[in-house]
Subunit: 148 residues, 2 copies
């Protein structure tokens, strides 16, 4: 089964900052979508909405402070349901490295390719949020195509 | 074997513009790296250099005007050698859709994750080049981490 993989490095003295941006509702609202609500605790569900484009409900599977966050998609586009999204953090000198994995896709396809590129763009928004205090979450996200 | 997949949409009235940016040396120099040389014809080799970071030699396997470009890596980082990079183009209304595939990786890993994100950034540079006449090729590319 194909995965979407990404790696970014955030200029930050501690992985705690990236961890906060990946777990606090205020943090998630600052880089992925401003319309984020729910309970970001293990077993809780966080709801990400993108206006007319719909959204995703993520069940929180793992929260390991400053190290790892994993979600499972429990509602959203059919191709996403059941897939798992994880962020592994580690410190490398002045950088917090984020290893991203979106796994469990049944098959590759044009929508998966779109999501791969769009995840890269949102991870750059996460990087910007932690480094500068300002990300580019929906509805101010960078458009990559006719699919937004 | 895992692949890197991406999809972007370029605002353009014809796929000929993206095809030119993917095949002419001047085009390639405008979005990937300014240090691009070689013969962009089937069987030819195009050399992409990124200063101290090294580079890639790509043998041109397929050139199907306005439709498809495929290269095979014949020199570069060990993980890249033998892998194939393709760009499939199609027109969808006001957009030229680029489906990108970098296939043949022996195994996933941190370097592949890095390359996945960096390809997304360079594809956005390709989009910018075709839409505005100005891309962000190396050495003016967007930095994503401590690995550049």
């Amino acid at each position: 089964m194909p995965d979407i993989l990404h790696r970014i490095g955030i200029k930050s003295s501690s992985p705690n900052d990236a961890y906060k941006a990946l777990t606090a509702i205020e943090g998630l609202s600052g880089w992925w979508t401003t319309d984020t609500q729910g309970e970001s605790k293990v077993g809780g569900v966080v709801k990400f909405r993108f206006g007319d484009l719909g959204g995703f409900d993520m069940k929180v599977l793992e929260l390991d402070p400053a190290k790892r966050v994993q979600w499972q998609v429990v509602d959203g586009p059919e191709e996403w349901i059941g897939t798992k999204v994880s962020f592994d953090l580690k410190q490398d000198g002045d950088y917090t490295i984020v290893l991203f994995n979106h796994q469990g896709w049944k098959e590759p396809g044009e929508f998966m390719s779109h999501c791969s590129t769009k995840w890269a763009i949102f991870l750059m928004s996460l990087k910007s949020l932690v480094e500068t205090g300002k990300g580019a979450p929906h509805p101010n996200d960078v458009m990559i195509s006719n699919w937004h």
